[in-house]
């Protein structure tokens, strides 16, 4: 196949807002893919500092910073690192998860595009903390131009002696390799990610044992999202207290929020943890355009339950969003205006999960398929009243019954769509055409009585 028409077609558009606090994004647009430029902008200072620290001191610093996993689960990063056994007969690894595929999420893309060395530095510091000597940076296959950027960054770091033998003259060795995917959402799940890196289908592994104990090729493995790892160097340089203070209690630092959907100014903005969602939509994102009103928001990527327009006065940190009945997730804020049909939105979400279910666990494989079929029929006017409860019942029976969270990721938003927009589901019953579609846009399906 052919190369790019020109390089610029791949570059994502940058935005800014006065409320932003730039920690992870501080080098965006600064030419930091160039190693010399990265060094001018405090590059590789953090890993030098980490080399002079005891591994436990690095872990304590990261724990105290309140950094929590930016991939979506929000688990304490320092805690995760502390689970790796000190002694291990098998080699230990650090694995950077750059298989960004959660619908609504496009932040890791910007990190790889503008600041690839910060990820390399984060992987190195994680490696020093847990006693690993090599790391892998896994980037999804669709992000080919980012793989090119990352491979060059790794080569440049080797050429400078920052990677390989005797890094920075410390007597220690550290290797980093790039690895690429080939199109699979499921591979963003940590155990499926390892399967993929081992050259297999991305099917999840049962836990325990957790990757920190038995991971890549059986060795203890730390797996962190790219944004999480890119947050580590500033923490080591600026200190845990500084980072923790930016956010809210137990939710340290900033987050790259990907604002998308029906907004006047969509874009990726770096805001402090705990930033108010309402302000994020109406101020940072510029509100809802075209004279429309807000109907719902998906706060953290497609697998998080939606919030209605009345529920958006919430602080965007892991604990506050959980308290509001959803999840902060991956930082993908999808804004939905009142011209959108929630049945169709639920259907499109389920179509995605049905397509991406790896088929390993039956509740997920069958559940997503039946839910998709039911929702297609519903949207086309062929639904029965009892189907509404059926959708919820099927979803509830998928929860917690699969090896990996993909089943939950499909079920949780669906339950919320039904509970919060039941009226819209009812408006589609008994042969009624979808009130949001143009006439004739959806082929009507017959209603089958029992």
């Amino acid at each position: 196949m052919t190369k790019s028409l020109n390089d610029s077609v791949c570059m994502a558009f940058l935005v800014s807002h006065p409320d932003e606090v730039r920690v992870v994004s501080r080098r965006f647009g600064q030419g930091a893919t160039n190693l010399e430029r990265y060094l001018e902008l405090d590059g590789y200072k953090a890993v030098r500092k980490a080399l002079s620290m005891e591994p436990d001191a690095i872990i304590t610093e990261v724990k105290n910073s309140g950094l929590r996993g930016r991939g979506g689960a929000g688990f304490s990063t320092g805690m995760k690192w502390s689970f790796v056994p000190k002694q291990s007969a098998k080699p230990k690894y650090v694995l950077c998860n750059g298989d960004e595929s959660e619908p609504g999420t496009c932040k890791d893309r910007l990190i790889f595009e503008h600041d690839p060395h910060s990820v390399i530095e984060g992987v190195m510091i994680a490696g020093l903390a847990v006693g690993a000597r090599s790391g892998y940076i896994y980037i999804r296959g669709e992000y080919r131009y980012l793989s090119v950027i990352m491979q060059k960054a790794i080569r440049d770091a080797y050429a400078k002696g920052f990677l390989g033998r005797n890094i920075f003259g410390s007597g220690r060795d550290f290797d980093i390799y790039w690895h690429g995917g080939a199109g699979a959402y499921e591979v963003g799940e940590e155990s499926a990610l390892m399967e993929s890196l081992e050259g297999k289908r991305g099917i999840p592994r049962i836990r325990p044992p957790f990757p920190a104990v038995v991971g890549l090729w059986g060795g203890p493995t730390v797996i962190n999202n790219a944004e999480t790892l890119a947050s580590v160097p500033p923490i080591i340089l600026g200190g845990a207290d500084w980072y923790a203070k930016i956010g809210t209690p137990k939710n340290g630092g900033t987050r790259l929020f990907c604002l998308s959907g029906n907004l006047a100014k969509p874009g990726v903005y770096e805001l402090p943890m705990g930033y108010n969602l309402k302000q994020m939509i109406y101020d940072v994102g510029g509100g809802i355009p075209n004279g429309r009103n807000l109907k719902a928001v998906v706060p953290g990527g497609s697998s998080t339950p939606c919030l209605t327009a009345d529920e958006i006065d919430v602080a965007m940190d892991f604990d506050s969003v959980a308290k509001a009945g959803s999840m902060l997730g991956s930082g993908g804020v999808v804004v939905i205006d009142d011209a959108q049909c929630m049945v169709k939105f639920a259907l499109r979400t389920m179509k995605f999960y049905q397509h991406e279910s790896c088929g390993w666990c039956i509740p997920c494989r069958e559940g997503t398929d039946w839910l998709k079929k039911t929702l297609i029929r519903f949207h086309a006017g062929g639904g029965l009243k009892k189907d509404i409860d059926n959708v919820q019942y099927l979803s509830e029976n998928m929860l917690g019954r699969t090896f990996c969270p993909l089943g939950d990721a499909a079920a949780m938003p669906t339950i919320a769509f039904v509970q919060k927009f039941r009226r819209e589901f009812e408006d589609h019953l008994e042969g009624r055409p979808c009130p949001f579609e143009k006439e004739g846009a959806v082929e009507q399906l017959p209603v089958f009585a029992d």
Binding site: T2, L5, S101, T105, G202, C258, F345, R348, T349
Partner: protein
């Protein structure tokens, strides 16, 4: 089976990055496919033998990853995202527009072999929706006019 020097150099290096050589399989298949257009029986046999795998092992992996294909595609594979962020900003209209303009359906290929069309899941361009990828190039903030221009540009490039 002969691949380019660039591929061979990359393969020879990458295979040293892992304790078990099978690990190189997924990125290798994508790089091979970039050269050959699709993963033919011959390519599969070659990769399997290099990595001491059965052809079935390789086929099992190919069938899992959505970017890998055992069937020829057009020279330019137009991948239109219709997932949620793109959908609420008109991604489906972009897909319909492409279908009409190219005269093919989802997963179809034009008779001249220049274009194929695919409805894809989230490509990570949510804040710049609606978006599409042509091969590996991102095209974002699309309108019907913009995708027309993009497709015309590829067409000119492909028929030069």
């Amino acid at each position: 089976m002969k691949f380019s020097e660039e591929f061979e150099a990359r393969f020879a290096e990458m295979v040293t990055h892992y304790p078990i050589k099978r690990s190189v399989l997924v990125p290798t298949l994508l790089y091979v496919q970039d050269e050959t257009g699709f993963l033919s029986d011959e390519v599969i046999a070659e990769i399997a033998s290099r990595l001491d795998l059965t052809e079935l092992d390789v086929r099992n992996v190919i069938s899992y990853y959505s970017m890998l294909t055992t069937k020829p595609r057009g020279k330019f594979n137009v991948q239109v995202c219709t997932n949620i962020s793109c959908m609420v900003r008109g991604g489906e209209d972009i897909l319909d527009h492409c279908k009409k303009k190219l005269g093919i359906g989802n997963k179809g290929t034009t008779p001249d072999g220049l274009f194929s069309l695919e409805e894809v899941e989230c490509i990570g361009a949510c804040s710049w929706a609606p978006a599409a990828q042509v091969n590996y190039d991102f095209h974002e903030n699309l309108t019907a006019e913009k995708i027309d221009r993009v497709l015309d540009e590829y067409k000119n490039k492909g028929t030069q």
